[in-house]
Symmetry: C2
Amino acid sequence: MAQDITLMWGSGSPPCWRVMIALEEKNLKGYKSIRLSFEKGEHKSKQVMDINPRGQLPAFKIGNKIINESYGACMFLENEFKSQGTKLIPDCPTEQAMVYQRMFEGLTLAQKLGAVVYYSWNVPEDERRDSAIKRNKAALTEEAKLWEGYLAKQCKYLASKDFSMADVLVYPYIAYFFHFGLCEKRYPNLARYYHGLKDRPSIKKTWPPSWVDIPDSKDVMNDV
Amino acid sequence: MAQDITLMWGSGSPPCWRVMIALEEKNLKGYKSIRLSFEKGEHKSKQVMDINPRGQLPAFKIGNKIINESYGACMFLENEFKSQGTKLIPDCPTEQAMVYQRMFEGLTLAQKLGAVVYYSWNVPEDERRDSAIKRNKAALTEEAKLWEGYLAKQCKYLASKDFSMADVLVYPYIAYFFHFGLCEKRYPNLARYYHGLKDRPSIKKTWPPSWVDIPDSKDVMNDV
């Protein structure tokens, strides 16, 4: 089955990374993996646009089915390969409810992270305001504290006693936080979670190669 | 089972509305429905904060399980009541892939709609710029055209030959578009979809009551 799968991805993109983690967790080895460069604009190339007309990565194809939305691709893989590899949506309703809650809260975290990290990218220079940067950082700080609190109540994983879809979807954002310099001392639970999963095979194998090559931008999260 | 379910909601909120549609589709009649007022700040009241510490609606409880994220609540209801009411995630992998794709593309639509409709709410007066309003409207117009195109290829529903989770999650946004004055002549496929589902029992029954009471704000989408 894995030979029917094509994933086009860019290094350091949480949406790409999570699909790679899901593929590993579902034991789908040997899929066609095509690394492209955002810097060179390859996400707007014909080979991407043919699969993903939004010109975004990931671009994901499985057989003749296309699911470019990373949450959707991960959900589809779990459904299609339910009994293969790691079970990512638990059967127990109580655990399942918490997995769904954290999975989708992850989108709020993403939105607040993006507002800080991509501010200069999203907002033209003459519209940028220090007050907006300050407000975005305050919102992100509040969000980071929430997740720090969530992890206090769990030991190793985000939503359940086992690794789950919530970890597949949200771990890349937590790693992103620390990549951009979140203070480990101020967020000890997030740091413990981050380091605790770094060596999990699905995560270690798919770690963004550009994060190894390029020094981290450690100042972005200084005051979060 | 429905008597174990509590939903706190506000009228006109797509996230609240979609949970109500899912409950109807899964034949969960007689749940505890508590309408609250955003205008009066009731989403920050203790009864909400006890369930949803973010102080947002919906606040959703089923037995002792809490899932306030509307996408998560709908997914949970589908999983928990798989063989009851409408099947919202099709078994056929090709249909299922398309349902997941459209479900999560709906989040991009939501984000672009929100940037236009809530601009004055989100951005303090001294930071507002006409250039930003124009850019947000252009992004929303591009997005609306995409969905107009998607619907050209389908007859009645968004992602499959049958009503699916994509409709549960995205229909409230399409209705929102027209509530705020999207031109039916410029978007005939979206308009056909919108009117075609208005009388579906799950949608008719849960139609935002405030949209009936209060005249529409028809100017917001004038130039989309």
